[in-house]
Amino acid sequence: MSAATVANEQATRYVLLLRMLCPPRHVFTGATGLVGSATVLEILKTDPDARVLGLVRPGSEGAQQRFVATLERGARLYGLGGSLDQAIHSRCEAVAADVHEPRCGVDALPPEWRGAEMWHCAAALQFHDRFRAKVMRTNVEGTANVVGLAKELGVGVLNFVSTAYVAGTRRGLIREEPVLENDGFSTNNHYERSKVIAERMVRESGIPARILRPSIVIGHSRTYGTLNFNGLYGFMRGVWKFRRMMARTQADLMNTLEVRLIADPDGELDLIPVDFVARDALGLSRAGADPGVYHLASVARRPTQRTLGLIFESLGLRWPTFVDTREELTWIDRKLDAGVRVYNAYVVGAKYFDRTETDRHLERPAGADYELTDEHLLGFYQWYIDQDLAHRTRKVTE
């Protein structure tokens, strides 16, 4: 055995010992949400030493139970079965917390969590105007509280999950750079606005921070499973509820009626499966990517017209006609529009999210060979219909 080999083996043993004594530690907010839980599972799956602390709202079950149950459910939804159960129980712990409180309502964390890597994934995704104050409180004040806690913990790095749609009304190529708040563009809704403000707070916090901007996050690339139903699923649900409301007016009306929808007919929807978000986010972490902005997007771009057309078809509706302005809508179209208008940012104003910075740090982007075919798309839709909408149907049949 050469001296170099011996030295290498010793170095490896030293690293293993160090990891055992001082394992990688990750502190999460939003660990029971879609992106947060998927990232935790990815950590557990790919790093046998890593420890995870979830700052979790206790709800009625208690923080630990809620955290564990969510992760176990997520693992099963993402095709991992019970393979991570032991890791979930032995390497994940939860502390009751609330981002609305100073220091997230956490009194003191054990010293071993000092210097951990922090992931701020918690967010409110309520788009209607009446939730403006609540969303601002969670996404802006909440981020301020997380930043305060991060400083106290002396975290090594803060990964802040934002959204690619902080781009607001900008069109064309959107670069991985801070959003300027006075460059003449605006946001489409208070959610986007809250994320713009939160990004600035994180940037100006003095903490080394990666701002991660996913596009429209959908279920798992292989199983289609998802833990919650925002974004594309919210749009689907809005269309589905509209259809049912109209059926109460006239049972077979929506079988024949063709509605109009405001959207760019030549645009593309930027979808990204949740497992790709988690893998790329963790890839950036493992690569020690510099503080900065990273687009977790442009993995599965699909023509808007076809993507929405297939949604309508999956829900038993005719494909909509795309129009540019509200003036072209009939009353029925306007009612549909009112239900799904909050998703306009996705379908109006074609955007292309540059991911040069993200890809520069990744050995291989998670979605490198992925193609979101019609078959896959219909698989995602049908999964959602079977797992959620069908149950809602039973709830309101009478």
Binding site: H128, R244, M245, R248, A251, R334, E398
Partner: protein
């Protein structure tokens, strides 16, 4: 002499049927029941409650009749009173903020000037009944009233009763049916402005977007899906202003009208031809004597009462709502919405001028 068959006057609502109840009230041999089924179903939202599949006791049945209907009382508390509600709030025992029994809203004051007294008498009699089907309880209640007021038959008329036509035909297979129809375009305009119809349509929207009936359930887990205007109409947020601001177009009501006409005709065709007739509201206004002759004959009471016709003629006025006053685009939407209903009626030989011209 065989007993005359009971009669249901059915329609989409806003088709002139309230006038028919008024005319029936004038008939010396008819017990006119007004708005029973539209109100015990709380504007068509609690249909299974009004027609339970299982037999029920007299006490349970009376609870269906008397418990305040949530939607109707919500409207009253907000100061939104339908013209059909004729309870004497000044002199009667019930107050708006305390909840008004469903049958006291219209049915009882339509029959008697002392609706509270009638309520008490009916409550005692109905609650003493044993277990029976809902239809038997309804029959029992109507017969009790016929005896009390010395009438030979009963005529029930509720706005929008085509919504429950299947239930009526199944529960009362012996009945005659008068189908009152009105130009869908004017009907739709009237619906879009009518407190009860607006509330019913708002109720459907809330039910679907919230996933539960908000007047029956506290579950608000799907509240994020409600648009802001609908959220303002939840029972806990409800205001007259939010109600007035909620946009309901004539074209939506036109679609509703078409749906109800199609559904209604499909069921009414099952009723033997000699026990159903269709009456156009416009004919009642333009050719009242001939229409009253037809209506009187449909009651199956023998020769039509001349005095009743003369008295009724004085009650018949002019119709309102004119769809031609709408903007051109709205007219077009409304025409399109009503087209399926017009087509279904045309198949029965019933037409209006310009019904397809646009």
């Amino acid at each position: 002499m065989s007993r005359p068959r009971p009669v249901f006057v059915v329609g989409t609502g806003r088709c002139g049927s309230t006038l028919v109840s008024t005319l029936m009230r004038e008939h010396p041999e008819v017990l006119s029941i007004s708005e029973l089924f539209s109100f015990v179903t709380d504007l068509g939202s609690l249909i299974p409650r009004a027609f339970p599949a299982e037999p029920l006791s007299g006490r349970e049945f009376w609870s269906v009749m008397a418990d305040p209907s949530p939607r109707l009382n919500q409207l009253l508390r907000a100061g939104l009173r339908m013209g059909e509600i004729v309870y004497p709030f000044g002199s009667g025992r019930y107050r708006v903020d305390g909840g008004v029994p469903t049958v006291s809203m219209t049915m009882l004051p339509h029959i008697d000037d002392d609706p509270d007294g009638l309520f008490d008498a009916l409550a005692a009699a109905m609650q003493a009944r044993g277990v029976a089907s809902a239809a038997e309880h309804y029959r029992g209640m109507f017969e009790l009233l016929m005896r009390r007021y010395d009438r030979r038959t009963w005529v029930e008329r509720s706005g929008g009763s085509l919504r429950i036509i299947r239930r009526l035909v199944d529960a009362f297979p012996e009945a005659r049916f008068v189908h009152l129809v009105r130009d869908g375009r004017n009907t739709a305009i009237s619906m879009s402005q009518h407190v009860g119809f607006r509330m019913a349509l708002i109720g459907y929207a809330l039910l679907e977007f919230l996933g539960v009936d908000p007047w029956e359930s506290d579950d608000r887990s799907e509240i994020d899906d409600l648009t802001d205007d609908l959220a303002g109409l939840l029972p806990e947020n409800f205001t007259a202003e939010a109600f007035a601001d909620y946009d309901i177009s004539p074209s939506l009501c036109g679609h509703y009208w078409s749906g109800e006409i199609k559904r209604g005709l499909a069921v009414l065709r099952e009723v033997p031809a000699e026990r159903r007739m269709t009456l156009r509201y416009e004919d009642l206004l333009l050719r009242p004597r001939a229409s009253l002759e037809r209506l009187g004959a449909a009651l199956g009471l023998g020769p039509v009462d001349r005095a009743w016709i003369d008295k009724s003629l004085r009650r018949i006025g002019r119709g309102r709502s004119s769809w031609q006053a709408l903007a051109e685009a709205e007219q077009r939407e409304l025409q399109d919405a009503c087209a399926p209903g017009f087509a279904a009626l045309a198949a029965e030989g019933i037409r209006w001028p310009d019904q397809c011209g646009h």
